[in-house]
């Protein structure tokens, strides 16, 4: 029934795909979180143009399928003269997609900080940016880590879609192996298990970190400031 030989023959190739998936997601997060912060602050800005642009970006990317975003990036960038390899296009698309979701998580996190925190910072003479940097954002970081982790897991899964623009990540590798072997069951189960293992590993590590963090610092803000992440993050997929 099961063709074990496929696992033996193709595991280096599959692992290479897995490694590219990891690299792409890491790059997308490294770009996406600053973008998300920028968009979140932009959406809260008093300047109408800035807030409109940030809001439009966030809503457009949150309310469309990732696959069409990928194709748009793939065709639009060269249209305006920017020729990049499929990997880079994929990273950019994933960063833009992630950034929109990160932005809403960060915004919800900032909004969860009581107004008095900002007021006390302003009253003692801090500028808007100093208050953000020293008082608001450090408190935000702690409450946004669980939803940001969730969103990261979403990005890992969404990265599979980059196979449609021929990025040789895990899913693409699976498709190629399937094309050579015609053993879809073995191949896709292997691919699925790798994604699953990665997701579970990250989720477990983050839970541990959170637990030990809460134990070390006997702070109880976590209960006080909570945010509704079900709407703002892609928690459900």
């Amino acid at each position: 029934m099961l063709e074990y030989q496929i696992f033996l023959d193709y595991w280096p190739m599959i692992l290479l795909g897995f490694w590219l998936t990891l690299k792409i997601v890491l790059c997308a997060i490294a770009l996406g979180i600053p973008l998300g912060l920028f968009l979140a602050l932009g959406r809260r800005s008093n300047y109408l143009a800035v807030s409109f642009l940030a809001t439009s970006f966030i809503e457009l990317f949150r309310n469309t399928p990732f696959i069409i975003q990928v194709f748009l990036f793939y065709y639009v960038l060269p249209f305006y003269g920017l020729r990049l390899s499929a990997e880079y296009v994929g990273i950019l698309a994933l960063a833009a997609f992630g950034g929109a979701y990160f932005a809403e998580i960060i915004r919800a996190g900032i909004d969860a900080i009581p107004k008095g925190q900002l007021e006390s910072a302003r009253a003692i003479g801090m500028t808007d940016w100093q208050s953000m940097k020293n008082i608001i954002l450090p408190q935000t970081v702690k409450i946004v880590i669980p939803p940001l982790t969730n969103q990261t897991l979403t990005l890992i899964k969404e990265s599979a879609i980059l196979s449609t623009i021929t990025v040789h990540e895990l899913t693409m590798t699976g498709l190629m192996v399937q094309g050579e072997t015609f053993r879809p069951f073995e191949v896709f189960i292997m691919v699925a298990l790798l994604y699953w293992a990665l997701n579970e590993t990250i989720a477990t590590i983050m839970r541990r970190i959170e637990k030990s963090y809460n134990r070390n610092r006997k702070q109880s803000n976590k209960d006080k400031y909570t945010i509704d992440i079900t709407k703002s993050s892609g928690l459900f997929r």
Partner: protein, 256 residues
């Protein structure tokens, strides 16, 4: 004739349909302690918050030592903003809800603004912070997290945080209203010491006992206006207006 230390000139503020402040003017001389009393919603907190521009007034002027704070003509310029932040650094503000910073421990709470706003180096700031925390009686709590403090301790921490900036004026917005009765005393003791040191203070409060003993002047506000101003004895024992009489009757003035 020298101008007064702090001049509040014809301040108006509306929130939608509500006229929170109507043509409020008040002079404060150096070292003076003024308690502002009045029913809730009378605009006393708003008045305090317009002084450091936390709530920008619609019209009027705030003049501190001859310098105008803020500007009512639309958005502040970059220069005005910098000036405003300089003023705020020298005007201490204490809130009803303490607003201590929960992500910083007690010592860091007092150090932070000195370093960020006052541009002190951290050693200098630490020495100052320790001194201030000793003054408010928190010397054994340096490494504690604010969440583990009682309300009274939090408020004393907030006061120490303001004092570390060497303020020339303190604004206190109902500093004891959110406290359990048995914790009010420890905060009032700290305030009493400040009075003795000659700090200029504006205090919005319901503690008429404290006001009568330590204020130089009591201001009674109602519906966005200053109704009566005078020495504590005059205001509390011999109210001139019906509104003040009514207000005092409603309060159970057992505290003095």
């Amino acid at each position: 004739m020298t101008p007064p230390f702090l001049e509040i000139l014809e301040i108006n503020k509306r929130f939608g349909d509500i006229n929170a402040l109507k043509n409020v003017s008040l002079n404060v001389s150096i070292g003076e302690v003024i308690c502002i009393i009045g029913p809730s919603g009378c605009g006393k907190s708003t008045l305090l918050r317009t002084i450091n521009w936390l709530t920008p007034p619609d019209s009027g002027k705030i003049i501190l030592q001859g310098d105008i704070i803020g500007s009512v003509t639309g958005k502040l310029t970059i220069k005005q903003n910098r000036l405003l932040n300089n003023f705020r650094a020298r005007i201490g503000m204490v809130f009803q809800q303490f607003n201590v910073w929960p992500h910083l421990n007690v010592l860091e709470n007092v150090i932070k603004a000195q370093v960020v706003v006052g541009k002190k180096n951290s050693e200098e700031a630490k020495i100052k912070a320790i001194k201030m925390l000793n003054e408010v009686g928190l010397k054994d709590k340096f490494d504690e997290w604010p969440d583990n403090l009682s309300g009274g301790q939090k408020q004393r921490l907030a006061i120490a945080r303001s004092l570390a900036m060497d303020p020339i004026l303190m604004l206190l917005d109902e500093p004891t209203s959110a406290l359990d009765p048995e914790l009010i005393g420890e905060v009032l003791t700290v305030l009493r010491n400040l009075v003795k040191e000659g700090m200029t203070m504006l205090i919005v409060t319901h503690e008429l006992g404290f006001a009568s003993n330590f204020a130089d002047k009591i201001v009674f506000m109602d519906a966005g206006e200053i109704i009566e101003t005078g020495a504590p004895r005059e205001i509390l024992k011999f109210p001139k207006t019906d509104r003040l009489k009514h207000f005092l009757d409603k309060l159970s003035i057992t505290s003095f």
